[in-house]
Symmetry: C2
Subunit: 341 residues, 2 copies
């Protein structure tokens, strides 16, 4: 177990890596902890959570909306949750995003702890302070930036993770490799999904490496004026695909990364050979690299993206594997480039 304390705009956040969930009562008086988790977690881990005040919701992306938030807030009022309480989000990205958001707005802010339980939440969603809920088809249209008191990584939870969720999480890991870490890209290329499923220590080391990559980016640029923006690689089309076709986040951004790599060929002279390496790596980790989707339809939804700014959108391209760059691009041009794909 290791604890490191990072400071985001002066707010200290403890990263408690490879510890057990059983210690969470040491971070806040137990009777003033409210666990919010999903139905799967509540079912599998009922013994672990039964002594806590708990609210259970569906952990599906379609439920990450204001209606679910309203329901949780009503239950919190019924439990007389006040500003002396701490909310702890226990679950995947849907839970950590939604609980983070509630902790930012309920009574103008409660303390927050996060216990991400999926690879995707551990390597990405739970880190960096972004939270939010969807509005209709638009992802994370409403949310805030708020850092938790701590994030506790208990790798035991990964043992109950369904295989498709396991694969889902690797998409963000491969994204980190593409934009920031060529050596990790090579390591991933030498292994495969079965290796990490079977080799617990290798998986822990890989997740820890990804936590560090994301933290380094966020610490450099918490408010996304530059470097943090690169984390959106694959996410522009990815989000639109995810919303329109209702597929899992990692699967959608996998397709989005392939599109972004191909557009990088047109805009940045990114090598076709490296695009093929990315496609091969995604396939090795059982991720989809194409789908029968109407890119023009997704383009319409992009205009509402948080990354859009009137007639333009900020788009993340690759220069080479491990080096990304964001550029403002007109929707008009994007539309023409898509036609050439």
């Amino acid at each position: 177990m290791s604890i490191s304390t990072l400071s985001f705009s002066g707010k200290k956040v403890d990263y408690i890596i490879d510890d057990t969930f059983e210690t969470i009562h040491t971070y806040h008086p137990k009777e003033k902890i409210l666990l919010i988790t999903d139905t799967n977690m509540a079912h599998i881990y009922q013994a672990k959570i039964k002594s806590y005040n708990t609210i259970v919701v569906e952990g599906k992306e379609q439920n990450k909306n204001q209606e679910t938030v309203d329901g949780i807030i009503e239950k919190m009022l019924a439990l007389s949750v006040d500003k002396s309480w701490m909310l702890i989000g226990l679950g995947g990205g849907v839970i950590t995003d939604m609980v983070g958001y509630i902790s930012a707005i309920y009574k103008r802010g409660l303390k927050l702890g996060l216990v991400p339980t999926s690879i995707l939440a551990m390597c990405d969603a739970a880190i960096g302070g972004k939270n939010g809920v969807n509005v209709g088809n638009y992802k994370n249209m409403v949310g805030t930036l708020k850092q938790p008191e701590f994030i506790l990584f208990d790798f035991e939870f990964l043992k109950s993770l369904p295989k498709e969720e396991f694969i889902n999480g690797f998409a963000e890991i491969i994204k980190h490799a593409c934009i920031k870490d060529k050596a990790m890209f090579e390591e991933l290329s030498q292994n495969n999904i079965a290796y990490y499923l079977q080799n617990e220590n290798a998986l822990k080391a890989l997740i820890t490496r990804n936590i560090n990559i994301k933290n380094e980016v966020v610490l450099n640029d918490e408010f996304e004026t530059a470097d943090r923006y690169l984390l959106n690689f694959g996410h522009t089309f990815g989000h639109a695909i995810e919303n329109t076709y209702n597929i899992m986040h990692g699967y959608a951004i996998s397709i989005g990364m392939v599109i972004a790599a191909k557009l990088s060929e047109q805009v940045m002279g990114f090598s076709k050979n490296e695009t093929q390496q990315i496609i091969a790596l995604l396939e090795k980790y059982n991720l989809p690299t194409q789908a029968d989707i109407d890119l023009r339809k997704t383009l319409e939804i992009l205009k509402q993206d948080k990354k859009a700014d009137g007639a333009d959108i900020n788009f993340v391209f690759l220069q080479e594997i491990g080096i990304a760059q964001s550029k403002k691009i007109a929707f008009k041009n994007l539309s023409e480039m898509i036609n050439k794909l």
Copy 2:
């Protein structure tokens, strides 16, 4: 006209006092300003606002809720409002609270300008960064703390303010006098509501003095660990009365201040004579000082108050006129003291 720039936790806010609304396009590109205002304002000032993108909602306290926020967000998506836009809340406290909240959560935050148009919003609601919406009977249960880019005070708007709204605003002015400014208490005692209704310069000077009082308190203690807390004088019972009996905020806190003054006699040895002076001043400004209300019923609602903390609540008492102090008090004791009133 005067502009002063104050800094709240490093965030600069321009206070533009005694200027005209017509200048707002100088603070942000006009086509990327979204005005949010209420039906009354939109009706009276249609000529002023017609060249702006505008969303109009009911400005009633009963509409200050998530449902109204959801409706506004849908319209913002339809207008393709993105992070390059600025929201401007034009109206009373209901509008400034709600627009502030939306600016904090929409796409994780847009720039915000406020143009308060009532005495209450000018002297209190629009200042200090608190925003929020009600959840059922519970006031401001959901919200954030976010400072705007600017607050523009255009006193012309007060000319169309209904008299009951005028009176409503004086409750917060008298509150400021009670907790912070004995000289202002005396000045108010020497005048009356008719004087300020007829004497524009005296009214401007009074409002400016109140803006300064509130800002001084907030600058000392933005996150309400001490001094800012005193602004809640009269608001504990006031909020509960407002919610339960559906009366205007100022009228409710007027009754709340009388209760708090009487409880201050029991807890602080506050003089009965000064309680009578407060009652006399409130009456002079046409504010109610008692009502046929069930205090035990309001006590129940207090347990959900943001100021509550389990079995205790922070309550603001007066030591003497102009000097307040907050103390944690058990609900049990509060209940006993109420019986003695």
